[in-house]
C-alpha cells in the first residue's frame, strides 16, 4: 500500500508541473492562460472608449520575471525560537548525528 501511495504522489507532482491529466490544480494552471479574459476582466464604459480593467495586474501570463524567490511570510519559521532551530540542528556538522552516519 505504501508503494502505491508513493507512486501516486510522484505522479501528482509530475501532473502539477507538466499539467497533463486529471489533477485539478494542474487544470487550473492550464485554464489560467485561456479562460482568463472572460472572468477576470470587467469592462467599464466611459464615453467613447471602453476601458478594460484587469483585476490583478502582473499576474497570469505576464508574471514578473525574476528567479529570486522570496518566501512569503506565512511560510516562514520563527528562528529566534530555540525549538524551531532544533529542526535544522542536524544539518550542521556540529549537530547530533545518527550512529550510522559519520
Amino acid at each position: 500500500a505504501a508503494e502505491s501511495f508513493k507512486a501516486r504522489r510522484s505522479k501528482n507532482i509530475m501532473h502539477l508541473v507538466y499539467g497533463k491529466g486529471g489533477d485539478s490544480e494542474a487544470k487550473d494552471i492550464e485554464k489560467s492562460t485561456d479562460g482568463k479574459e472572460d472572468s477576470d476582466t470587467e469592462v467599464e464604459e466611459s464615453g467613447l472608449f471602453k476601458i478594460k480593467k484587469t483585476s490583478q495586474a502582473n499576474s497570469g501570463i505576464n508574471q514578473f520575471d525574476a528567479t529570486k524567490h522570496r518566501l512569503p511570510d506565512e511560510y516562514r519559521h520563527d528562528w529566534h525560537n530555540p525549538e524551531i532551530r532544533e529542526m535544522i540542528r542536524n544539518r550542521f556538522v556540529t549537530g547530533k548525528w545518527d550512529n550510522d552516519e559519520d
Binding site: G19, I61, Q63, R76, H77, V93
Partner: protein, 359 residues
C-alpha cells in the same frame, strides 16, 4: 528549419530566449502585457534583447508595432570581442547576468563581458551571490578554470553606477551529475558591502547575523567590504550575502539588500533567517539555482542525471515546462517522504559545442 515555438505573455522572458538560443528553435511571443496600463515590452526586456543580439551572430529580432509581440530567430552564439552592456537602472545586473551564465559555456569563444548598472538589489540575484553560489555550480558540470566575476565598482539602487566583468571559458560537453547527498553544513561565509555611507553600518549587520548563525556553528566568517571613491557608484547602500557550505559541496546562498530606511540589524537578522529557511529545504542546490542546475542536466550527455531538490520555486516550475517545449525533455520527479525533498531525474540531450577544438 527548426519548428517555431509560440508562447504568450511576458513571463519568463529571459528563460525563453536562452532556451531558444540553445535549442536553435525560433520563438514567437505574443500578448506581452497586452491588457495592462503600460503595454508591451518594458525597457529592461528590450535591453536584454539587445544583449542577446550582442551575444549572438545572425539573430533576427522583430518587435511588433505595438511592442506586444516579439519574434526571435536565434543566431549562433558567437562572441569575438569584448562586450560591454549598460544594464540601465530598472533592473539590476543580476537580471542580465543570470541567463548569460547559462549561455556562456556554449559560445564559440571565451566570453569577456562588462556590465554596468545596479550590482545589488532585492529583486534579482546580486553579483555576490552569483559569484559565490552560481559560479561554483558550473564547476560541478565540468566548466573548469577561468570563470571570473570581478566587481570593479558597486552600484546601489536607484542610480547604480556599478561595474562588473564576467569571464567564462567554453566547454566541449558537460558532465552528467549524480547528486543526492546535500551533506552537512561545515561553514558559513558572507560578505557585507557598503558604499557611500559609514563603514560602521556593515559591522552592525555582521554582528546581528553572526549572533544568530553562531548558535549552530562556530565557523562563521563575514567579510566587510567598504567601497570608496570611484568604486562606490552613485547611490548609498549596503547588502549582505551569506553562503552555507556543506561537506559535499552544496552551497546555500541568501541575501538581503537594504532598502531606504531599513535598520542594519534587521537586514542582518533577515539574512540569517532566510539562510535557515534555505537549509531547511534540504536540496543539493538552493532555490535560486534550481533552474541553472536543471538546465545543465538537460544539456548534459545522453546519460541519466540525478539531483535532489527542495521545494520547487514558481520560476522553476515554469522552467520545467519550457524545457519540455524547447527540448522535449521531461523530468521524472519522485518525492522523498523521509526528508521532504524531490529527486529529479532526466536523460540529457547530449549537447556538444562544435566550435570548441579538442586538445
Amino acid at each position: 528549419m527548426a519548428s517555431l515555438v509560440k508562447l504568450e505573455g511576458a513571463q519568463c522572458f529571459r528563460q525563453r530566449l536562452v532556451l531558444s538560443i540553445l535549442s536553435g528553435k525560433p520563438v514567437k511571443i505574443t500578448k506581452i502585457r497586452a491588457e495592462e496600463d503600460s503595454p508591451g515590452l518594458s525597457d529592461y526586456e528590450v535591453s536584454f534583447l539587445r544583449l542577446m543580439d550582442k551575444m549572438t551572430n545572425g539573430s533576427l529580432i522583430e518587435i511588433g508595432y505595438t511592442g506586444t509581440s516579439v519574434l526571435f530567430r536565434p543566431g549562433i552564439l558567437s562572441i569575438r570581442r569584448k562586450i560591454e552592456h549598460d544594464c540601465g537602472t530598472s533592473r539590476s545586473i543580476g537580471y542580465f547576468l543570470e541567463p548569460i551564465i547559462a549561455l556562456a559555456p556554449f559560445a564559440k569563444t571565451e566570453l569577456n563581458l562588462t556590465l554596468i548598472g545596479i550590482t545589488n538589489d532585492d529583486i534579482d540575484p546580486s553579483v555576490d551571490t552569483l559569484r559565490t553560489v552560481s559560479l561554483p555550480l558550473l564547476r560541478r558540470f565540468g566548466v573548469e578554470d577561468g570563470v571570473v566575476l570581478k566587481v570593479n565598482a558597486r552600484g546601489a539602487p536607484p542610480l547604480g553606477g556599478g561595474e562588473v566583468v564576467f569571464q567564462c571559458p567554453v566547454v566541449k560537453a558537460l558532465a552528467p551529475i549524480q547528486w543526492d547527498d546535500a551533506g552537512m553544513i561545515k561553514r558559513i561565509r558572507g560578505t557585507v558591502y557598503s558604499t557611500r555611507m559609514s563603514p560602521q553600518t556593515a559591522n552592525r549587520v555582521v554582528d546581528k547575523a553572526r549572533g544568530l548563525l553562531n548558535t549552530f556553528i562556530p565557523d562563521v566568517y563575514i567579510y566587510c567590504d567598504h567601497y570608496k571613491g570611484k568604486e562606490s557608484g552613485k547611490s548609498p547602500g549596503y547588502a549582505i550575502s551569506l553562503v552555507a557550505e556543506t561537506t559535499t559541496g552544496t552551497l546555500y546562498g541568501t541575501e538581503v539588500a537594504a532598502e531606504k530606511g531599513s535598520l542594519p540589524e534587521d537586514v542582518g537578522d533577515e539574512a540569517a533567517k532566510l539562510l535557515f529557511e534555505e537549509i531547511l529545504q534540504g536540496g543539493c542546490v538552493d532555490t535560486q539555482n534550481q533552474n541553472l542546475a536543471l538546465l545543465f542536466m538537460v544539456l548534459g550527455p545522453e546519460d541519466v542525471s540525478k539531483i535532489r531538490l527542495g521545494k520547487l520555486s514558481p520560476a522553476t516550475i515554469d522552467f520545467l515546462r519550457h524545457i519540455k517545449n524547447f527540448f522535449g525533455v521531461t523530468f521524472r520527479i519522485v518525492p522523498d517522504e523521509a526528508t521532504d525533498t524531490l529527486m529529479m531525474t532526466c536523460v540529457g540531450v547530449g549537447y556538444t559545442n562544435l566550435s570548441k577544438r579538442i586538445g
